[in-house]
Amino acid sequence: MTEPKSIRVFATTGALGMGFLDDSLARAIEMKPDVIACDAGSTDSGPHYLGAAAPKMSEQAIRRDMGRLLQARDALGVPLIIGSCGTSGTDAGVNWMASITRALASEQGLSFKLGLAYCEQPSAKVAQWMDKGKVQALPGAPETSSADAAGCSHIVAMMGAEAMQHLLEQGCDVILAGRTTDTALFAALPLLRGLPPGPVWHCAKTIECGAVCSTKMRADGLMADIDAHGFEVEPTALDAGCTPLGVASHTLYENADPIYITEPSGVLDTGAAQYEALNDRRTRVTGSAFEHKPYSIKLEGAAPLGYQTVAIGGIRDPYILRQLDSWTDEMMAAFEKRVAELTPYTLGVEVRIDISYYGRDAVMLSGETQANDIGHENGILIVVTAPEQSTANTVARFVSHAASHWPIPEWKGFISGIAFPFSPPEIDRGMAYRFVLHHVVTDITPLELFRFQTEDIAHG
């Protein structure tokens, strides 16, 4: 039996919309990759983007990158795969990317077969799965009930390589997918062409953030060649290199465990991997292993937390700074009474007031080792969370006013103890969300949770 042919994969940039160098793209086209792939999302930026189904990148930034990638794809005649559309991969995110893509195709006179993969799950269905024990929490996850799941505004199920392959097998040229594992975008075609999973998944993990693992840590691309025994990777920019150290280090990034990396179909084991410099720009990796496991699919869900209003100020009086805890405790006791007077709610139940002091322990909280070092000034951040925006604003208005005049024993008379840079000091920041689900569904097949559509785009 002959060995499968090596496959060249072009990872354009770490996140669609972050940009890449035009020279790098031109060079990538000359290198004739077999597939172009780019990730467009993450949960890294917090629960807002999933909870609100809102993209992190601007439409302008997406258009700039996507327009160039569609042209590159057209010139090469190879598939372009975009995963986690609209940051969180909701159905709205896929539709947003699809409408941008259709508009770009029309402007540029391009024709291609478009494939869309949707992955959003009804919260009631997920709640039922939880009741049936079909859903397991990932390590570190808090207690979650089926009622919590039912309260999610959006739940996405993470697609693996099989969902991308399903659309590739239908001849799709441009694939816009909902939430997808970052690696699956790059692994789909090489696995379909018969390359072994160890090198494929390790390569995919290496290139998913683009040039971040090269010697020039910027938004740009990588080119990888995967063969039957390993993979080789180099940056698309000529002034950068991929060194063994840089490639080995990338398995650390944003991973709790750098050796074993879980995919829907199994676990990548990088423990025995060898990294070898072929020249100062190119590294070869061998010895990566992959163990197949029963299929599992990750769920991500976010739910509304409440509306928030914030106020920002500064404190310079050393007498206030030396008694921040007692000063805060006293005013919080008064706020509890005032919340009950002005709203139908109870402080600490439906309404929260969080006050933190920048310059003391606002960043590391209880983990701060230097919380007793009193500086010459502190920033104060007041965050009010309530069931309605109007309530959050009402509470924040009396909190910021009362806090700024809250007395200390050293001064006899009415003080103004907080420097507010803005008037009004209160800033409404809309609905806040929280992560509820970061779980896996087991006893599942690779495609059953996903919906696919294809569409022929013809212009010019």
Binding site: T43, G46, G140, S249, E254, D257, V363
Partner: protein, 108 residues
Amino acid sequence: MAEVIQATTLGELASLVRSKNAGPFWVTFDVMFDTDSDFQRVVASQVINKAWVAATWEIPLQDIVLVELPAARAIKFSFPRQRVQGDPGESDQYSGQQYAPLLGLVIR
């Protein structure tokens, strides 16, 4: 003549010290070095150990994953976040500024 090795701090010796979310429930810390000898020196010093991590970030010892990675010249440890990313009271959405206690560790 034997080279005299001066005591220094981890912040001075490391090429990169960083913290970052590893998903919304975990925070992970990476300490990386320019040379194998710097890496081996810090590994041998054992200043980064589970007991110190547990005491510094106030977390149970058994929740900590700690690995040394010679191929990356890196020491890495991870543990569950004190609160889920974005939950009420969040101070650092990306966990990007949680590594400062490492910088002053004395390396002999």
